[in-house]
Amino acid sequence: MKDSCSSILKLLEKYFDQEVTDKERFLLEGHLQDCTACQDALKSMEELRALIKVPVEKALQKEDFPWVWQNIERQIRLQEKQTWWQSIRSWLDISPLFQRKVWIPAVATAAVLLFMTTQIIFKKNSSYLDASVVEYVESETNNVMVYDLEKAKVTVIWLFEGPEEEALPS
């Protein structure tokens, strides 16, 4: 091994990993042509890589990388977990449903529909209010009279206890 071999050996690992510059490559390849010791060193490295490569590749085949990646992603998500409010905001930001040009007409339409519906409901209920106050009245023992004083909003249900009774609505 020549004196310059020590500096070349330092480069040899970088060369082996294809990390040398063009200048270093030129220098190293020139040296390798003349130096059998460095050629042997390089050859040893290549043999060592070959030895390692097979078991490593086998191990890699056995390894479930998608699962590992999913775990990593989950951990990232946990660390960056948004608050519910941020989640809603981000969803609203991406959802075309909540873009201003969509939701303003939608809200306006909903308001009109709501207005129309309430009109119908009020109309229905007013008819309900207009309905008779007494839905039914029955008595097996007495005669019954129903009298409405609509102006005063008073309804009378009067039970007559006898045919001669005259104590009733005047």
Partner: protein, 147 residues
């Protein structure tokens, strides 16, 4: 976004309000009045209905025997006894539509039904059930809404 949140909150409050009204209790008032031609007294607490009573009946005296606030829950009858248990009035809330309460009323005398009726009670409306005789007059039950 800033406009959507108040809208959602408003809708939620409105929904809760409507459902609470729909499933809540109904406050009504039952007054038991003795009407007679003995004397000419009208209880001060009956002044709100005195004009109506006067225009409907020919009695000269109206005495308030009982003033009962009733808290009615749907389909749960409330019983009121009168005249030492001889008369029982059973009131059941059977429906509630906005501001109209549907009440089923059963009047029984000495265990025997003398009246079964179903009425719609709304705010401002008074329903009078009268007729059962007492010594010197008649009993009138006045139902009014308190909602």
């Amino acid at each position: 976004m800033k406009r959507v949140v108040p809208l959602i909150i408003f809708s939620s409050i409105l929904f809760l309000l409507i459902t609470s009204i729909a499933f809540g209790q109904v406050q009504t008032r039952l007054r038991v009045i003795r009407a007679s031609n003995v004397g000419s007294n009208v209880d001060a607490s009956l002044r709100d209905v005195h004009n109506d009573l006067g225009s409907l009946f020919s009695f000269t005296s109206y005495r308030l025997l009982r003033d009962e606030p009733l808290s009615l829950t749907p389909n749960r009858p409330v019983s009121i006894s009168a005249r030492e248990g001889r008369i029982i009035i059973e009131i059941t809330l059977v429906g509630l539509h906005r501001s109209v309460a549907e009440l089923k009323i059963r009047v029984a005398r000495e265990g025997k039904d003398i009246l079964n009726t179903q009425i719609r009670l709304s705010p401002g409306r008074t329903v009078l059930i009268g007729g059962p005789k007492v010594r010197d007059g008649v009993i009138i039950y006045a139902f009014s809404a308190r909602f």
